[in-house]
């Protein structure tokens, strides 16, 4: 297996791709901080997947007799004001956090890529129209714009995702446009133009693959902000609605009991901090991993 992955001569398209993936993995392993971030994220995903096993009682098992218990052997992270186990809520909340961040990335990255590459490649009035639209979105602070959208659409996780995605695409479009401007002038684009490739083929097959690494890096670094915005909306009561165990909403309710029961606010706060940090570390190292020339 290892000799196949490091072979001097690659024998098929799949082999070449596998080898590239393997070298990327080695580069990730070599970057300790990025690898630590990667491990935390993998751990988070495992926790989210194994939630029914780790916390079989579910996130909403109430027991008023066990209100506001500090962390103990039975309740690792203590219990909240309704006697719910905070560990169970954190575990089930991981699913929500992952869902929000993945959905935002899946919505915002393609929009940003499409707008940015089109603006950069075509130039002229297409560029002007798309970039002024971009400026309008950029001129609002993210959370305020998201607040406006949620207020218009109604609270809930789905609407929070849409609202955050609408605030997340403009920086990506800017980035993709800047990259496209340099790529557009290169000889390999001139070569495919001479060969008769149309704008759609050039953008999708030649420009987008070159923009993807920096966009992936950017969106990974943005993930922390996305999670914080989602938590912020939850905190303000405009994101996840009770009794959903969303970390931001948990933090918000925990705040009322902060003086008597610190673990109510501290535990979800730490979870948000750790996840944001992991995304930031991972995003930093990702650029080296995605660049094939650094082999």
């Amino acid at each position: 297996m290892k000799t196949w992955l490091t072979a001097e001569i690659t024998t098929s398209a799949f082999h070449a791709r596998a080898q590239r993936f393997y070298y990327g993995w080695l580069r990730l392993r070599a970057n300790r901080l990025a690898f630590a971030g990667f491990c935390i994220l993998v751990g988070l995903c495992v926790v989210a997947i194994l939630a029914p096993l780790l916390a079989p009682e579910g996130s909403n098992e109430q027991s008023l007799a066990l209100r506001l218990r500090p962390p103990s052997r039975e309740h690792w992270f203590g219990t909240d004001e309704l006697g719910r186990d905070i560990f169970a809520r954190i575990v089930w909340g991981a699913r929500i956090t992952i869902r929000i961040s993945c959905l935002v990335a899946v919505i915002a990255a393609p929009i940003g890529l499409a707008v940015g590459t089109a603006a950069g490649y075509f130039g002229g009035w297409v560029d002007t129209v798309l970039m002024r639209l971009n400026d309008i979105f950029l001129s609002f602070p993210g959370l305020i714009l998201a607040l406006g959208f949620v207020a218009a659409l109604g609270p809930g996780i789905g609407n929070a995702v849409i609202a955050i995605a609408l605030t997340a695409w403009p920086p990506i479009a800017r980035l993709a446009r800047a990259e496209t401007l340099t790529i557009r002038a290169s000889d390999y684009i001139a070569a495919v133009r001479i060969q008769g490739a149309g704008p759609l083929r050039i953008i999708l097959r030649h420009i987008v693959p070159m923009c993807v690494p920096s966009v992936v890096v950017r969106i990974t670094l943005n993930m922390a902000g996305i999670i914080l915005t989602a938590a912020g909306l939850g905190f303000l009561g405009l994101g996840a609605q009770p009794p959903t165990p969303e970390w931001g909403a948990m933090l918000s309710t925990g705040r009322q009991n902060m003086l008597g029961a610190w673990w109510l606010a501290a535990v979800p706060g730490l979870a948000i901090l750790l996840t944001s940090l992991a995304f930031n570390l991972f995003g930093d190292g990702l650029r080296d991993v995605l660049d094939p020339r650094s082999e």
């Binding site: 001097e8 001569i9 690659t10 024998t11 098929s12 398209a13 082999h15 070449a16 590239r20 290169s186 000889d187 390999y188 001139a190 070569a191 495919v192 133009r193 001479i194 060969q195 008769g196 490739a197 083929r201 097959r205 030649h206 693959p209 070159m210 094939p292 020339r293 082999e295």
Partner: protein, 261 residues
């Protein structure tokens, strides 16, 4: 095969308009190899790019294989003219394997037997099967330029444009690439138009040589006349002298007089 009739190429609009080539008239017969020499900024690459259809020309006519080509070219017209660029690293997509790079023109023109065409193109330029699934950064400069030539030839063009195809390569590799181009020209009956600032490279491949300076085609002469020094224009003589190596007379003959400074 290629006829340029009073072609003028300009960049920009209004007072920022810059004429890169003015009233260029040139004819390349079928199967011939013509070279364009001149210093940087003389407009030789601009002429090449206009023939390739990469940049529009503002005046005159370009006729390829008896047909006048306009701003928008048909697929068949695009297939007829292919180009090899100066920097082989910049002209190959860094994220695509050689296989993907060669498969792209086949997909664009919906050609049949793609597998056989790729294998044939690679063997024609002297690359083996082991190079097929490599990325450009895993190849040497000479190998990259061979891939670029294979990509141009896979569409079976009748015209091959060469924009300083050897100037980014080592001297030993330069000769290999030039010999490869000469062989491909014989085998495929290609019409070639090559741009270079190196007279030796041009003389090796081309029979007819055009001399360009500041956007003007000064004179058209033959390689033999060039070698024996039978040239008309003073600029060409200066170019010949400067190509012979560092020579004070080549400098003092021109408008750049450093001995006075």
């Amino acid at each position: 095969m290629i006829i340029l009739d009073n072609v003028t190429i300009a960049y920009g609009q209004g007072h920022r308009r810059l004429v890169a080539a003015r009233d260029v008239t040139l004819a390349v017969p079928e199967g011939a190899a013509v070279g364009l020499v001149g210093e940087s900024g003389s407009g030789k690459s601009t002429v090449l790019r206009a023939i390739a259809g990469l940049i529009p020309y503002s005046d005159g006519h370009i006729t390829l294989a008896g047909k006048s080509v306009g701003k928008r070219r048909t697929t068949a017209e695009k297939r007829m003219v292919q180009m090899v660029f100066q920097d082989p690293y910049g002209s190959l997509h860094p994220n695509q394997t050689v296989d993907q790079i060669l498969a792209m023109p086949i997909a664009i023109h919906r050609l049949d037997k793609g597998e056989a065409r790729i294998a044939k193109a690679l063997s024609e330029v002297g690359l083996g099967r082991e190079h097929r699934y490599r990325y450009p950064h895993q190849l040497s400069g000479g190998q990259r330029q061979r891939v670029a030539i294979a990509r141009a030839l896979i569409l079976e063009p009748s015209i091959l444009l060469l924009d300083e195809p050897t100037s980014a390569l080592d001297v030993s590799v330069q000769a290999e690439i030039l010999n490869l181009l000469a062989r491909l020209r014989r085998e495929h009956g290609l019409t070639m138009l090559m741009v270079s600032h190196d007279l030796a490279v041009i003389a090796h491949l081309c029979d007819t040589i055009g001399v360009m300076s500041r956007g003007l085609l000064l004179e058209t002469t033959t390689a033999d006349a060039m070698a024996s020094g039978e040239v008309v224009h003073e600029y060409t003589r200066q170019l010949l002298r400067s190509n012979a190596g560092f020579d004070r007379s080549s400098v003092s003959a021109g408008d750049l007089d450093i001995s006075a400074a």
